[in-house]
């Protein structure tokens, strides 16, 4: 039986189920316990699991990320919540230099099964420091797996897989879309890491995207349909490892691809998709790969800047017409 629940509730259900299943899983971060989470993702978890397993930290990202890494090396399975990924920047030393490298450095003796999670991406007029997208940053680093979701079904299935996974995982959510509703079954299920999802089938053009840009792509696809253009929408769900097969199969069918990616363009997720498409489906392409990213700049506060900065359905539709050589 499925019911509609919000993204935040799906994440909480996933974490709680795993905590019931495995005593070694715990949740740690700023305001996760008594305040029920800055965005209420962990609401009620302190009541259920107690102070030992749902732990409020001081504002000390580098320190508590490192405590998570040490605990993971020593047999536990921490979930480390960052209030947003912007603040995880303080913890990059522990994520990049330690979590990602422990297995290699120790010749396989020490694994680091840890989930670093929190929202990534802009959330309205929050200005430069609070509006950044981190999928491209983290996906650049070998040793880490990177997941990025907004769909509640995917969120629950993937947070459970992430907690069970033996490798360190960066899990990206969306501050703006914690209230985003979707169907989630009552029964337990997992969503595998490393598999994209075709959210909408189409034949004329492939739109590859992830996180809240999924909604942008879907809206564009709907509008395009009204104009007789059939767009396929692929939600990557996992950024690293990237599901090449789903992307390539789609391009072989549509012969055109646009990447919609809220991270900055330089050396990012969109660049990676473009690379694998030209490598594996060069002969199938009827047009260059086009990407629509957040602008190659810092995001200021005023609404006029936010409007200009982000990908939106109109930008997608314009790009689709470009690759389809339709002038309108």
């Amino acid at each position: 039986m499925a019911r509609e629940i919000a993204l935040r509730d799906a994440l909480r259900e996933g974490m709680s189920e795993e905590m019931r299943r495995d005593e070694d899983v715990f949740l740690m971060g700023e305001e996760v316990a008594q305040y029920n989470g800055a965005y209420k993702v962990s609401k009620g978890m302190l009541d259920e699991f107690g102070e030992k397993r749902v732990i409020d930290t001081p504002i000390a990202e580098l320190g508590f990320a490192g405590i998570g890494v040490g605990a993971a090396m020593n047999g536990l399975r921490p979930i480390i919540e960052f209030m947003t990924w912007n603040f995880a920047v303080l913890a990059f030393d522990q994520i990049i230099n330690n979590a990602a490298k422990t297995l290699s450095q120790s010749n396989g003796q020490f694994k680091c099964p840890i989930v670093f999670r929190g929202p990534s991406g802009s959330a309205g007029q929050l200005a430069q420091q609070h509006s950044q997208t981190f999928e491209s940053w983290m996906a650049n680093c070998p040793g880490l797996k990177v997941i990025s979701i907004v769909d509640p079904y995917d969120a629950k299935g993937l947070i459970k897989s992430a907690i069970r996974d033996d490798d360190p995982i960066c899990f990206m959510e969306s501050e703006m879309l914690y209230g985003h509703m979707g169907e989630v079954p009552e029964e337990e299920y997992l969503v595998p890491i490393g598999k994209a999802r075709v959210r909408r089938e189409g034949t004329d053009v492939t739109l590859v995207t992830y996180n809240k840009m999924v909604l942008v792509a879907e809206e564009a696809a709907k509008k395009l349909e009204a104009e007789g253009i059939s767009a396929e929408v692929i939600d990557l769900r996992t950024i690293r490892p990237m599901d090449h097969e789903t992307i390539i199969n789609s391009v072989k069918k549509t012969n055109r691809i646009i990447v919609i990616d809220e991270s900055w363009p330089f050396a990012g997720v969109s660049a990676e998709v473009a690379y694998i498409v030209q490598k594996h489906a060069f002969d199938y392409l009827d047009a260059p790969v086009i990407r629509i990213n957040a602008a190659d700049t810092n995001l200021p506060y005023a609404p006029t800047f936010v409007e200009e900065y982000l990908p939106n359905p109109d930008k997608v539709i314009k790009a689709v017409k470009e690759v389809m050589y339709v002038n309108r």
Binding site: E30, E31, Q34, Y35, A38, D56, P58, I59, A60, L62, G63, N86, F87, V89, L90, G124, Q125, L126, A127, Q128, Q129, H130, W264, P265, F266, N293, A295, D296, T297, N298, P300, Y301, A302, P303, T304, F305, E307, E308, Y309
Partner: protein, 341 residues
């Protein structure tokens, strides 16, 4: 008349400082309070968006501090910064327009509530990353010392920020190198929903200076007088070349952490205890009791400030949003930088 009442009377009739100073404090605090009350209203009307953290309750710190510093001294602080910036000399118009995201704002609508900067006022900004400004403040002080000035950098941060590792690194280097830095922790008791008591065994935050041999003390932040005295003393120490000083100024924020926080983690009584010693109320009483001004004078000040704030809103309303096409301005000093499409 009893002894106690007598004592109160003498205290009340003999203010410690000049009338000018009291009135300056009063006006400064009242301006910040009224400005932010208006900002909250404007937020309610969605004229102001994003995060908005107000300083209401903490105004005595800015008022006392600015009268103990020179305008050549530098200040850097966190995102709860409207009051600090106004104290530095950012005008209510520039500040309100910034909150509205208008091009006439102090940073052209680029920063919003958390990020005012004003080079002409030696105001190095509101920083949105908790604790980031602590080493930055030490660096600003480093540059002053390097250039051989007598200026210092006031580096302000919250009780929550005091738990960041960067504090320790900055304290250590600032002390070792005798940098002209006045570290001020504005301890308002909470970091979002987390009380100071829940973050450490050491809740006398000023004692964190001890680990580095940095002189430190607690200060009552609900009165401009005590803040003024403490900062004067600390500044003198710093200007004599002896290196940094750390003040833990105890204060309270009356509102939630930001506009979206209902602040259920504290009691009404606690809040009311602080409101009873509200620095604006207390200073007003001191002024009247000390006959430094009449009720009519006070009313004149209130009217003046009300008008200033109203004019600031009008100015913000009537200003334009920056053109979205300016999105790439000021990301590099190089003006023909080749941005990616």
């Amino acid at each position: 008349m009893g002894k106690v009442a007598d004592k109160n009377k003498t205290k009340a009739s003999k203010p410690k400082y000049s009338k000018e100073l009291y009135l300056q404090w009063y006006e400064q605090m009242l301006l910040i309070r009224r400005f932010e009350e208006k900002a909250l209203m404007m937020y309610g009307q969605q004229k102001i968006r994003g995060f908005c953290h107000v300083y209401i309750g903490q105004e005595a710190i800015t008022a006392g501090m600015e009268t103990a510093l020179t305008k050549d001294d530098c200040i850097v602080t966190a995102y709860r910064q409207h009051g600090t910036a106004l104290g530095r000399g950012v005008t209510p118009k520039e500040a309100m327009a910034e909150l509205f995201g208008k091009e006439t704002g102090i940073v052209g609508g680029k920063g919003g509530s958390m990020h005012f900067f004003s080079k002409e006022n030696n105001y190095f900004g509101g920083n949105g990353i908790v604790g980031a400004q602590i080493p930055i403040g030490a660096g600003i002080g480093f540059a002053e010392k390097y250039r051989g000035t007598k200026n210092l950098c006031v580096t302000m941060f919250g009780d929550g920020a005091a738990r960041q590792g960067a504090l320790h690194e900055a304290f250590n280097m600032a002390m070792t190198w005798k940098l002209p830095v006045l570290f001020i922790c504005e301890n308002n008791g909470y970091a979002m929903g987390t009380s100071v008591e829940r973050t450490s065994n050491v809740i006398d935050l000023h004692r964190m200076g001890d680990g580095y041999g940095m002189p430190n003390e607690p200060v009552d932040g609900m009165q401009p007088e005590t803040v003024y005295e403490a900062i004067q003393k600390a500044a003198k120490h710093i200007r004599s070349g002896k290196g940094p000083y750390f003040l833990e100024i105890k204060t309270y924020r009356y509102k939630g952490h930001s506009v979206s926080d209902p602040a259920k983690y504290r009691t009404k009584d606690e809040l009311n205890d602080y409101k009873d010693k509200d620095p604006i109320k207390v200073t007003e009483k001191r002024i009247l009791d000390g006959k430094m001004a009449t009720e009519a004078d006070i009313k004149k000040i209130k009217d003046k400030i009300k008008k200033m704030v109203e004019e600031a809103v009008e100015f913000a309303e009537n200003s334009d949003y920056p053109d979205g096409s300016g999105l790439y301005e000021d990301n590099y000093v190089q003006t023909d930088y080749p941005y990616l499409e």
